[in-house]
Amino acid sequence: MVGVKKKMVTLVSSDGVEFVVEKRVAEQSLFIKNALNEGGVEEKVMIPIPKVTSDTLSSVLEYCEKHASATEFQENEIEEWDKEYIEKADLDLLYYLLQASYSMSIMGLMELGAKKVASLIRGKSPQEIRELFNIKNDFTPEQEEEIRREMQWNYE
């Protein structure tokens, strides 16, 4: 309706930056939605988002904003947007987006991030995956040898 003020909420990132966003955008996160329901409808709501920095949060909110108005777009348009959105994230951001989507319960973003990581993994050897994601190999040489023997079927 014209003239009705949009309901806003304030999200506070882990490094103390405040983001004022429309309620419907913030509610893309089930975590926030639940928090709002529990606290009743108040005029000024401040919700701290632990473990999510301002850089990540601004990117997450970009996603939420697009998807809050998803009905205005055609399905493939949103798909295209998603693709571009996740494509431009570097690996560090991708990691933070995944963690944020997990802690904030944003299912769509979690799916999108997981799909992206899976696409990067596909066809790579464990060592290549470790190098790409900078994952530390915490197996002892004996364990590694055992894995190698078990996974024999999986290599050319």
Binding site: A114, G123, I129, F133, I135, F139, Q152
Partner: protein
């Protein structure tokens, strides 16, 4: 984007020679291919090209649920590889609720059976938490082991999805424990034997049942269907013992039936989507009960002999696909005129008795006609996507000799062709057509002209695919460069396909007409971004040196990659636009 020149030296030498020869006459600048290759090498070292990597060991500590989610998106091979990167990942993998086990990667080992068994036992023994989705596909002849694995997957009675494929000579009988898995939502069985107990009360949650090459009797199947009251999707593929398919008292919305069955009872008001495929042309009874399903939206019928379509006036069909040996005359015409909500139609009638087809519809958006017709009349203003076979039954006038005659008399004009073309009646314009696919026999003037008419009338076309038929025999006459497309090129007519972006040519033979067509399209479509030409046979070495084809690589700077199977060029056009041209076998 990485540019590679990986052809053999011989190919490069021949290509360079040809380019050299071409350049003599045309004055193109030839650069040394070696230099090009060096430059490409250099390009690869460019730091902006570097694959990004993560700066710290964060992914190793990803929340277990996230790692699970990632691993579940991978194939079994990739998932197992990825799971071994670190302890955390192995832990995440062991607690994923979905387990897919398939022995096809083990087949190449001599001791594959014992290897696979050892592998599965180890995977199962390290499982943490219940399995909700279990897929097992194996050829090992070891009933005991398979039983044990299934028992394991069912031990908490929590399993929701089971896919089981056991291919050994004697059919594997699924253990009776299955019938106490009341949480099952999806059940897919391939090549097993299923024998529900007499007093089986059904799977209360089962929504999706897929039986493929499964041995089950008529009465058992009947009981199963009537006792599983929540079934929504059914697939019956080649069930050897089944003679009758009866879905009358079910809530099935989606039905997929493949194989030879004798009797059908399909009347069901919840059915929305049905596919009926019969590979062998058996006589069947009551197949037409499918047309009593008044809420059916999607229908595919394939293979059935002597099918006669009833009136479809009361139906809500939106997509119809028919691939049939015969169909009485006017069936298609009537179908289109009776289904007012029809959006998508795909017909393939194998009958050699060609029919007249009239497609007059205000709702149709997608049309595919895959076989010949005596006459095609198209009047569907909403068409977005079309795929049309252009008939090649020759009439006297479009044979090569008459073509020659026209030329001699100087009578060849588009007007003349339009007047003589009686095969296809098209609207003045296709106002919404964006994707068009045509099967054209190059060298047959009528086909070529009809194809041209289609393309010309579709002014919003952005994707065009041409499949080349067998080229017309030239009766020993040669026209040099003066075929239909050359004629258009030289006619001075202002022909522009302003929205065309992608052009694909399949089954390319490399005939003069095809090459001329390609030239014509490049000329007439200023916005083209991508051309892909797929050769029918491996005449690669010839095409590498065919001067006609190299027409496209007028500037060798454009060449990106050459191999014996593929040539890729990226041609700079006006402004920043680029045209990507690819020849592949």
């Amino acid at each position: 984007m990485s540019a590679l020149v990986d052809g053999t030296d011989e190919q490069r030498r021949r290509l360079r020679k040809t380019l050299m020869e071409m350049s003599m006459g045309r004055g193109y600048l030839i650069i040394n291919l070696e230099t090009q290759r060096d430059r490409n090498k250099h390009k690869r070292d460019d730091p902006t090209d570097k694959i990004f990597t993560s700066s710290s060991d964060v992914f190793g500590n990803l929340a277990t649920e996230l790692t699970e989610r990632i691993l579940m998106k991978l194939s079994m091979r990739d998932a197992f590889k990825a799971s071994t990167v670190s302890k955390n990942w192995i832990h995440a993998w062991n607690s994923t609720p979905k387990l897919v086990l398939d022995d096809k990667n083990f087949m190449r080992f001599d001791n594959y059976e014992s290897m696979f068994i050892e592998f599965v036992e180890r995977v199962l023994s390290s499982r943490e938490g219940p399995i909700l989705q279990f897929h097992l596909s194996t050829c090992i002849e070891n009933k005991m082991k398979i039983n044990r694995w299934l028992f394991f997957s069912m031990r908490y009675n929590k399993i929701k999805e089971l896919h089981l494929e056991v291919c050994y000579a004697r059919k594997y009988k699924v253990p009776q424990l299955l019938f106490s898995c009341h949480e099952l939502v999806h059940l897919k069985l391939v090549k097993c034997k299923l024998t529900p107990p007499q007093d089986f009360k059904g799977f209360n949650m089962l929504k999706n049942l897929h039986l493929e090459m499964v041995k089950i009797t008529d009465s058992e199947l009947k009981n199963l269907l009537s006792s599983c009251t929540q079934l929504e999707e059914l697939a019956f593929i080649d069930l050897p013992w089944i003679t009758e398919i009866d879905i009358r008292n079910t809530k099935v919305r989606q039905l997929n039936i493949v194989g030879s069955y004798e009797r059908f009872q399909l009347e069901n008001q919840s059915l929305i989507n049905a596919t009926l495929i019969n590979i062998f042309y058996h006589d069947v009874h009551d197949l037409l009960t499918i047309f009593f399903c008044k809420n059916l939206v999607h229908l595919e019928i394939s293979g059935y002999k002597d099918l006669v379509l009833p009136s479809l006036r009361d139906m809500k069909l939106e997509t119809v696909k028919l691939s049939l040996p015969t169909l009485p005359p006017d069936s298609i015409t009537n179908l289109v005129s009776e289904c007012h909500q029809l959006k998508k139609l795909d017909v393939m009638i194998h009958d050699t008795d060609y029919q007249e087809i009239q497609i007059v519809s205000t709702s149709l958006q997608s049309l595919k006609i895959g076989r010949r017709y005596s006459h095609l009349h198209l009047a569907c203003p909403q068409l977005i996507d079309a795929s049309i076979y252009i008939g090649t039954d020759l009439y006297f006038w479009d044979s090569v000799s008459h073509y020659c005659c026209f030329r001699k008399k100087q009578r060849l004009s588009l007007k003349e062709l339009e007047y003589r073309q009686t095969k296809v009646t098209l609207p003045v314009a296709f106002n919404h057509l964006e994707k068009l696919s045509l099967e054209v026999r190059f060298g047959n003037l009528m086909c070529e002209y009809i194809a041209f008419s289609f393309i010309q009338k579709a002014h919003r076309l952005h994707t065009l695919q041409i499949k080349c038929g067998i080229p017309e025999v030239h009766l020993g006459l040669s026209f040099g460069s003066d075929n239909f497309w050359e004629y258009l090129l030289k006619s001075g007519l202002e022909i522009r396909f302003k929205n065309l972006i992608t052009l694909t040519i399949l089954h390319f033979n490399g005939s003069d007409e095809e090459i001329s067509f390609l030239k014509f399209m490049v000329n007439a479509a200023p916005m083209l971004q991508e051309i892909k030409v797929i050769f029918l046979t491996q005449s690669t070495m010839d095409f590498l040196t065919d001067p006609h084809l190299l027409y496209f690589f007028s500037n060798v700077e454009d060449l990106e990659s050459i191999s014996c199977q593929r040539i890729l060029a990226s041609i700079q056009k006006e402004g920043d636009r680029k045209l990507k041209v690819e020849f592949v076998y």
